[in-house]
């Protein structure tokens, strides 16, 4: 696990792209705020949840610009052991994690593929955003992770999802998807903070060529979506090799454009140059999100339109 004292050296390579780098490093010493998303499919009245949590000493405040998202105090409260969680009224989820689905704009009647879906925070968010009336295929290559996804679908009472267990890179053709989300496996640098219990995948699995996996997933997603359709590519890492360079690879291989999108959190344009390599200028339309500005996890989101 990366120690906090090692963080400045680890993140030093991003000094020029992360705004207010020193404040960013300071911010890593603070724990991640706690948020949840309200599931109105099961709980049409937020007051039921808010009153129930208040009785347990929890203060929940609506996040500005993000309907259905609440910030919770105290931030170490075990939301997962409440009856509101058990009954599927809430889904603990950080705010920046909502951004890919905001970019995707799921609508009733659309065919949507969530290529790397487990454990289902974004799948269930899509189902809510489309009033449980889009046709959503939620795929994950690992059975243990898919089991968690299925449990969350059941807990949240979602009816509009079919689950599949394919390798994303070989997901079968034949369905005219309007939209595909690739929330790719990544090094997870954006999640890193003091007391972070996970590991940075980049370090843990040094042998894993994440950019190669991400490129394979994104190209497949693009080939699965119909012409004129939308692919959203997202990660929770700062690493340009897993973000802009992956999307740059697609833009050189396929006819695609990156669309601008409005987000409710502070953001910065994607970079168009990295370590001397000039990238596709359209990458400026992608967006980077940093934890010290969003009070959440670092994220990268690119909304891509298939042109041909």
């Amino acid at each position: 696990m990366l120690k906090l004292s090692e963080a400045p050296a680890y993140f030093e390579r991003y000094r020029d792209i992360i705004p207010d780098f020193e404040r960013f490093l300071e911010h890593l010493k603070e724990p991640l705020p706690l948020y949840f998303r309200l599931n109105e499919l099961k709980c049409p009245d937020p007051e039921i949840v808010l009153k129930g949590l208040a009785r347990q000493g929890v203060k929940a405040e609506l996040v500005s610009g993000l309907p259905r998202f609440y910030r919770v105090e105290p931030r170490d409260f075990p939301l997962g052991s409440t009856e509101e969680y058990y009954l599927g009224y809430i889904y603990p989820m950080t705010t920046s994690s909502a951004l890919p689905v905001i970019a995707l704009e799921p609508r009733p009647g659309e065919y949507i593929l969530d290529l790397c879906a487990a454990p289902g925070s974004k799948t269930t968010q899509m189902a809510q955003a489309s009033q449980d009336k889009a046709v959503i295929v939620a795929n994950d290559r690992r059975l243990d992770r898919l089991t968690a996804l299925v449990a969350n679908l059941k807990r949240l009472g979602v009816a509009s999802v079919a689950t599949t267990l394919y390798r994303g890179e070989t997901f079968p053709f034949g369905i005219p998807f309007d939209k595909v989300l690739v929330d790719a496996p990544c090094s997870g640098e954006g999640r890193y903070r003091q007391g972070y219990e996970g590991e940075l995948l980049y370090q843990k699995e040094g042998h894993t060529n994440l950019p190669a996996i991400q490129k394979g997933l994104l190209v497949r997603a693009f080939d699965l979506v119909k012409v004129g359709g939308i692919v959203v590519y997202s990660t929770c890492t700062f690493n340009p090799e897993e973000n802009e360079l992956v999307v740059d690879y697609l833009l050189r291989k396929r006819q695609a454009e990156i669309l601008l999108c409005e987000y409710p959190l502070p953001c910065h344009p994607g970079i168009t140059e990295w370590e001397g390599k000039i990238l596709h200028p359209g990458l400026a339309n992608a967006r980077r999100f940093y934890p010290h500005e969003t009070q959440s996890v670092g994220f990268f989101v690119a909304k891509i339109k298939r042109l041909m």
């Binding site: 009224y89 009472g157 509009s160 999802v161 079919a162 369905i175």
Partner: protein, 158 residues
């Protein structure tokens, strides 16, 4: 040294999609919900009813299901109703989702009663409802399915 074989759960190659129910079968299931709980059939408009051997699943209605049927699926939709012997039984999952639309055969429990029912699974109970499957509710929250019979309440909560 012989290599340890990695256990991988295989997807059944002939795995089939649940079947789309006929109009009559759909009407039978939705009529049960309407008659038992007063939830109108219109509440399920926009959803297909799919069926496996003893279970009914709710899935979003789509113009053409055929392209999707080419996928080897693990699950489809929400487990809605089970066929138990000759009876239809609502699932707690479905009641938690649609139970707030119910008009009748709802039992309101106090937190203490709910705790006891979840612990003991069957408790003596008297309520002004018809015998049969009931919706268990506590402080406005629908918890799921129970069975009220002969002054007893049986829990089917997961």
């Amino acid at each position: 040294m012989p290599r340890k074989k990695k256990r991988v759960k295989k997807i059944h190659k002939e795995a089939k999609w649940p079947r789309v129910t006929s109009f009559e079968e759909r009407d039978e299931v939705l009529s049960f919900w309407e008659e038992r709980f007063g939830i109108p059939k219109e509440a399920f408009e926009g959803y297909l009813l799919l069926s496996t051997s003893k279970n009914y699943w709710l899935f979003v209605e789509l113009p053409d299901i055929k392209p999707l049927q080419g996928l080897k699926v693990q699950t489809v939709g929400l487990l809605f109703t089970r066929r138990v012997s000759h009876w239809l039984k609502p699932t707690s999952t479905a009641l938690q989702r649609f139970g707030h639309l119910a008009q009748k055969n709802i039992i309101d429990l106090s937190p203490a009663e709910l705790d006891r029912l979840r612990r003991e699974r069957k408790i003596p109970f008297s309520a002004e409802v018809e015998e049969g499957y009931v919706i268990l509710r506590c402080e406005g929250k629908v918890w799921g399915c129970g069975l009220y019979v002969k002054k007893s309440l049986i829990s089917f909560l997961p």
